[in-house]
Chain length 351, copies 2
C-alpha cells in the first residue's frame, strides 16, 4: 500500500473536532485560524516571523523585503469587475502593500483542469498582464500544471510576490496602540456580492462590480507623507469583521467601530439584505484598513482621498485598551454589539 | 451571463491546434513549451528575464536574488521515498539551486479538497517542516484555500522561493559553450517509477524509492570551489531528455550524450522496460545536470561526489557546435539517435 511506505511523522495536535477538512477551513475566519494555529504555526512557526500577517518580512542580501503568497480558486473565474487573473495579481500586490512594501516581482503558478477551453486562458493571461502593468509589478517566473478532468475546476492560480520595504516602522498588529484611529479605504462588500451574483445568475437593478484593484499606491503615499502607520490589513476573506477581530486579538486591544461611518453602497446593502449577508463579513479585493495615531488621522485621510481607489476613505473606529481582543460595533440606532470572526463559511471560493 | 460581464481582451495568438487544455500541456515537454511560448511569454516576456529557466534573477534593494515557483499535484500524494510535501519543498529549493542561488525562504500555498482527512495534512505538514530543515530553508508565509468536494484531488501545494545569488556568472542555457562537459549528478528514473508503482499498486522485487532530495549543497560547493558553472538544470518533468533538448535549443548547440555513461539502477531499468518507459524521459526530483568547461570536469566531479546526493555523479556528454539545437545519444551498442523533447504526456501528475 503506497501510504504505508510514505515517510513523515504524524502530528499529535488535534485540529478542533474536525477529522476532515471543511470548506470553512478556507474561509478566512475562525476555522482557518485554528488550522493555522494548530498545524502550520507549530510546523513553521519558528521562522514565520509575522504570524497572522499578510506576508513575511525578510532580511536577505542587505535588502529588507516583504514576501507573500495566495492561491486563487474563485468560482466563477469571470465575474463583473474582474476575473481570477486580476484577483491573483491584485491580491498579492495588496498583501505586499499591507506589509508597507513596494510590490515589485510576482510569480504565477497555474493548476489547470484538463479540458479547460484555451479561450479561457487566452482571456485570463492578458488580463493578468494588464493588471500587473497597472499595479507596477512584473511577472517574472511561473509554472503550469494540468490535472485530470474532474480533479480541478477550470483553473486555480497561485501568485507569490516580493516587495521592497523602504520604511523603518513595524507595520503589524503588534504595533497597534490605544488611541489609534481606524481608517477604512472605501465602501465595502462589492467583491463578494459581485461574485455571488455571477455565481447564482442574480440580476440586481444596477450591476454590482467587484472592487478588485491594487492599493499599493495610496499605502506608499501614506508612508511617503510620514504618517506613522501602525498596521494595515486588506479586507478579503472574512471581510472587515474577521480582519478587525484578528488584529484586536493579536494586539490584545479593543477596536470600537462605528457602523454609520462605514461606507456601503445602497445596492450592495440591499443585495446583502435580500440574501441574508452581513456586509461586515463580505470579502473585498481593493479595500483595506489602516491604523494610525489619532492625531495623524486627518492627514492620512487627505492622502488616501487623493487616490481614486481610496477616494471614499473614512474614519470608522478607534482603538482603546478597555477590553482585550474585542471588536464592538456601535449600530446606526446607537446599540453596541460584539463583532466576532466569521466562524463558518459565508461564501466559499470568493477569491 | 457572468462571462459576458468579464473584462480582459482576448489574445489573438493560437496555441498549436488545441482548443482545450490537454494533460500534456502540463507534462514539461513540447506542449508545455508551446503554451509558454505562445501565451505566457507574449504576456509576461518583457520582464521574464530568463525564459526557459528554472527561476528569475531579481535585482532588488541592492540584493541579487533568485525567485522561483512550482505547483505540485502529484498523485498519489504519498509515495515511496516522499510525499507531496517533501516534493514541494525540495522542488523549489532545487529550482533556486539551479539558478546558482542559496535557497533561503519559501512560501507555501495549499489548495485542499473539502473532505481531505485531517490526518493527511497532519502527515504532509510535518514532513514539509523536516524537509525544509534538512534543506536549510525557512517557510515564512503561506495560504490555505479549500475547494468543494470533487473540484480537487486531496491537496495541491504551491511553493515559491527566494534565494541569494552570491556568484557573478550567468548560470543559464545562454552561457553553455562548445566544449562544455555535461555532468549528471546521479542515477535517473527513480522518482517517476516510484510514483508509478505507488499509483498503480505495482510490486517490484526491490522497492524503488523516489530520489526526492535537495541538491543545493553540491551546487553551492561547485561554485565555492570556483568551478565556472555555465548552466544547471534539474531533471524533473520530461526527464533528462526534455531538459537537455530545451537547453540545446536555447543555446543553439549540439549536446552529445553517451548512454553507457548514464547511471540507471537495474531495478529502475527493468521496471521501465516492463512498462514501456524510456528512463531518459522519466522524472527525477533530486537529480541535475551541470555544464562546465571540459578542463574543469574532473574537479567538478570530485566536488559532487563529496555529497551523498551526488555520490554517483558522472560525465555523460559533451557540447559541440556541430549542429544547432540538437541532442544525440550514442547508444550502448554504438548507434547514434536523435533525442527529442517529450511530446505527449508520459506520466501525468508526476510532481
Amino acid at each position: 500500500m503506497p501510504t504505508d511506505l510514505a515517510s513523515g511523522a504524524a502530528c499529535p495536535v488535534p485540529i478542533g473536532d474536525h477529522t476532515h477538512v471543511l470548506l470553512a477551513h478556507g474561509g478566512g475566519g475562525r476555522l482557518t485560524n485554528r488550522l493555522i494555529d494548530s498545524l502550520f504555526l507549530p510546523a513553521f512557526g519558528d521562522s514565520a516571523v509575522h504570524a497572522h500577517h499578510d506576508g513575511a518580512h525578510l532580511h536577505i542580501g542587505g535588502a529588507r523585503l516583504a514576501f507573500s503568497t495566495d492561491s486563487y480558486v474563485v468560482r466563477p473565474m469571470f465575474f463583473p469587475g474582474g476575473d481570477i487573473g486580476t484577483l491573483a495579481i491584485n491580491g498579492t500586490v495588496n498583501d505586499l502593500a499591507m506589509c508597507g512594501a513596494r510590490p515589485q516581482f510576482l510569480s504565477v503558478g497555474f493548476v489547470i483542469e484538463e479540458g479547460l477551453p484555451m479561450e479561457s486562458l487566452q482571456r485570463i493571461v492578458p488580463s493578468m498582464r494588464t493588471t500587473a502593468r497597472a499595479a507596477g509589478v512584473a511577472v517574472v517566473t511561473g509554472d503550469t500544471k494540468v490535472v485530470d478532468r474532474g480533479k480541478g475546476d477550470g483553473v486555480y492560480v497561485n501568485t507569490a510576490g516580493v516587495g521592497l520595504i523602504e520604511h523603518d516602522g513595524l507595520i503589524a498588529p503588534a504595533s497597534v496602540r490605544p488611541g489609534d484611529a481606524v481608517l477604512l479605504s472605501g465602501d465595502i462588500g462589492r467583491h463578494g456580492m459581485a461574485v455571488m451574483a455571477a455565481r447564482e445568475g442574480l440580476q440586481f437593478e444596477s450591476a454590482i462590480e467587484s472592487d478588485c484593484a491594487p492599493v499599493a499606491a495610496p499605502v506608499l503615499a501614506l508612508l511617503a507623507a510620514g504618517i506613522p502607520v501602525h498596521c494595515l490589513r486588506d479586507l478579503t476573506r472574512g471581510g472587515m469583521a474577521s480582519a478587525t477581530v484578528e488584529i484586536a486579538e493579536t494586539a490584545g486591544l479593543h477596536i470600537r467601530l462605528d457602523e454609520a461611518a462605514i461606507p456601503i453602497r445602497e445596492d450592495v446593502r440591499g443585495a446583502c439584505e435580500i440574501l441574508g449577508f452581513d456586509p461586515l463579513y463580505v470579502a473585498n479585493e481593493g479595500r483595506f484598513i489602516a491604523f494610525v495615531p489619532a492625531d495623524a488621522a486627518d492627514r492620512a485621510l487627505e492622502v488616501l482621498r487623493g487616490f481614486e481607489v481610496s477616494r471614499a476613505a473614512a474614519l470608522v473606529g478607534m482603538v482603546s485598551d478597555t477590553s482585550r481582543g474585542l471588536v464592538t460595533l456601535k449600530s446606526r440606532i446607537g446599540a453596541t454589539r460584539v463583532v466576532d470572526m466569521l466562524s463558518g463559511e459565508q461564501l466559499p471560493r470568493i477569491c
